[in-house]
Subunit: 565 residues, 2 copies
Amino acid sequence: MSHPSDWETVCARRKRAQYESIPPGWIIPALPENQLNVMDVPRQSGLLDDLEMEITETVDVQIILDKLRLAKWSSVQVTTAFYKRAIIAQQLTNCLTEIFVDRALERARELDEHLARTGKVVGPLHGLPISLKDQFTMKGLETIMGYAKWIGRYAESDCVLVEILYECGAVPFVRTNVPQTLMWGETMNHVFGRTLNPYNIAFTPGGSSGGEGALIAMKGSCLGVGTDIGGSLRIPSAFCGLYTLRPSYARLPYAGAKNALEGQESISSVLGPMSNSLSGIKIFTKAILDAEPWLKDPVVLRKGWSESEYQLAHHGNGGQLCFAIMWDNGVVKPHPPLHRAMEITKKALEAAGHKVIKWEPHRHLEIYKNAETIFAADGGHDYRQQCEGAEPLIQTMSPSTDSHANALDEPLVKGLVGEPYHRTAYELWELHAEKRELRKSHLDYWRATVDQTGTGRPIDAIISPAVAYTAVPHGLNTDSFYTTLCNALDYTCSVFPVTFVDPELDDPHPPHRFYNHEDEHIYKLYNSELFPGCPVALQLIGGTQEEEAVIRMTEIVAEALDRMH
Amino acid sequence: MSHPSDWETVCARRKRAQYESIPPGWIIPALPENQLNVMDVPRQSGLLDDLEMEITETVDVQIILDKLRLAKWSSVQVTTAFYKRAIIAQQLTNCLTEIFVDRALERARELDEHLARTGKVVGPLHGLPISLKDQFTMKGLETIMGYAKWIGRYAESDCVLVEILYECGAVPFVRTNVPQTLMWGETMNHVFGRTLNPYNIAFTPGGSSGGEGALIAMKGSCLGVGTDIGGSLRIPSAFCGLYTLRPSYARLPYAGAKNALEGQESISSVLGPMSNSLSGIKIFTKAILDAEPWLKDPVVLRKGWSESEYQLAHHGNGGQLCFAIMWDNGVVKPHPPLHRAMEITKKALEAAGHKVIKWEPHRHLEIYKNAETIFAADGGHDYRQQCEGAEPLIQTMSPSTDSHANALDEPLVKGLVGEPYHRTAYELWELHAEKRELRKSHLDYWRATVDQTGTGRPIDAIISPAVAYTAVPHGLNTDSFYTTLCNALDYTCSVFPVTFVDPELDDPHPPHRFYNHEDEHIYKLYNSELFPGCPVALQLIGGTQEEEAVIRMTEIVAEALDRMH
């Protein structure tokens, strides 16, 4: 083996420092090499006492907040419990970046004292530990975001989200892993390494918010914050069986957070919550909007939480809804478990008295191409600049090939959108004009469904896969065809878990007439023996800036699914 | 004289067709050559009967709507009255592009019949004639927008704004002139020629919504719609003594309207109303927002008219407000009449019980440079493309020099922002990152005024000049330093008239220490003998997406000014 180069040394040193920030008593023994599913290790490890198990197994975030408010549980207890479990998750899935136990517990102690002294909570998230994707800068901590060059960049102030979380009484307690460049649907970088899926560590948790995905799936956090520009909240939520909300552009405050493609505003990255419970999604969204984030972030819409929109004022007050299922987007056909999840959801909704019709895709490939071309408008200049002189640009997420040898983009996408090159400002404007035409066309198409619903309204939401498959082996996630649609059109959407892959029920489908090379490749990936036990989730798509309504409609779907069990 | 070239012939033919679309009975005799102020010609012309004079002299749009609703005046009467007066204005100031008398009167007749038959109005703008800047496409009419090449481009559908105006019961009745490229603060193109200021036809009405400015000043329309990317609603409103509202990006529906720099989304052009009355501004804005424009334009914010924001819920319910006056932006010092207008406004507001403090400019020149660099990011590619093979690109608005001989941009601005060149996508992203930092910095600066107001809130609004001077001779308008600030920061703002230039009161100020070459140039332009009688207006600047509050605060200012008379 050759000597490590400088960047390898620098990264290894930072990784060691991370390991050393773990309290020694929280280290667990190594697992058998052949154990793929690690979901039960926290329970088996013995590291958590009964109360810590009870706390971390409490899925409903509202219950945790209630216990904190009533001082049944202290913030120190809750933060310690989730921290210990997060550290277990870290040892199994490598999901964390920044670890700062003392700082978090100090904050929790202050909150406990405040409550004891005043009898009042600081805010709606009082005492709650919250995990944050590595982009969300915190004063005094590094923001490395998957780049070797960023090691040692200590933030001088909190980003606006963190400011508001503090005002709300939350306890930011860990930061979570991302891929180099943020523009992958998996999670691996040279500093902190690769994050694994706890349902099968040979599989990816997805990305780019994959650290959050693995952590929350292991109940190492009950509520985390990720970001999404092409599926980065939804892919890990789908692969790890979580709820998430991808809000529309500029509804939640991004100011001060770091980002890839800084200044790219054509299709904006957004931040959103990830949680094991829908209550977590709603509580986070409402808390941030109630804090009037536009007073601190000039880009945020001046539009607070709307209770009437949550009560579906524009959707017949939630009486009978009409959903349209997109069984297939005409670009990539979903794997059998996704098809079964849609069947389950259809039956559940119909049993609950709602209507379900079929969604025929509208110009999906054109929309996808436009978005992907925009993301690559700088021809990779931004990525190269971040890596230059510090580390190689990662060319593939596959662990089985030399990770720096391949082409810039996964060949599948390149086949659809062509070779990227650095475009001019005017060429970018042309892409914007095309994007606007596509958005207008899609909106008109949606509105025209009023003729098919029988409710007097257009369809209330679309239900579709978030990804065409469930979690896949590392290096094989290439699909953002279902997610990117919503980024490009700025439709608010959620992800909700439905079931798990079951080899008894999810036989391979016979081959269809393939739409393209990508579709064929993805079809061949499926084998019911490979994926058993992986979570299967779907996406619910509402209109632009319909955060409140999308949350409520997702609750309605989840309640309908619950009643089927 | 040489033979006209092809483009001159084509433009002349189109201009003749426009003349021929005027009903022969509406032609007025030529005026004496030395008559500069034409404001009284409509009254003197004898073309309007008593009712038509009464209708067109009714400044308050609410009164006109009430009379229409109660059938005291028919829409045919109102539309005919304004049409005749618009045609007079056209002959004096050359403010119109599309003239379609029969079509408008047919629409008016249908509305009258509907009201007579059903006893109900079609919508909140029932029967009201509304003028539209040439960008707002109407099915079956050309959209020429100041480009020779666009002659003969007949629209196949209405833009979303026109769709909604029809739903609201309005009568779009004329379209109005613009400069070639839309990116001038004056109004002249090769097809329809130059628009003149009715207060002094040797002066510009401003631009780019200069056709609306001249038309509404002459009461040829009581309510018109223009657009603004750097001051194009506010400059003509200030030069012509009108009210306007520059809404924030994407609050009102632009979809389907034509534009310059199509696809430029970094600093968005917005549409807004122009009127002789504030009631016109409010009625238009509320009507469009109540129509839920986001259902037709995917870019529009899902945020309807908020009555509580109009009632200043976030500004102490309008009790005691605190305004900050920007006496000087530190880039260009305003002319004496503007200074006097600010003094008048200060006294009026204090007499009404409000507080007035001084606004110290914050990074104004940096903000201006960033915005102007963004507008020129394509190095002029878009303009050249629209003109290429059809007509020369206009290089100056000055009538005294060969209009195609000079440099691309007015040298004054070039001195500040440098030579434009075609930037890359990444360079544009860098400008966006800079813009975001500037917006955040300015917002924080605004919020920090909470320490100076004594109201417990930051200042409620800034009051400043819209332009550093009143209307100037053709070719001499170079200042967008006061207006562009709001486009760059996306602050909602209005313009309101205060007084008129008075040589007795508006002596030249002694020279100050000039900030730059532009400031010196503009200082030397002033001479109290040159400008008498020209309207003097100011700008009121509120927060982003504060349309309702800005309208209400402008009403409060206007009421305070009224009480001073």
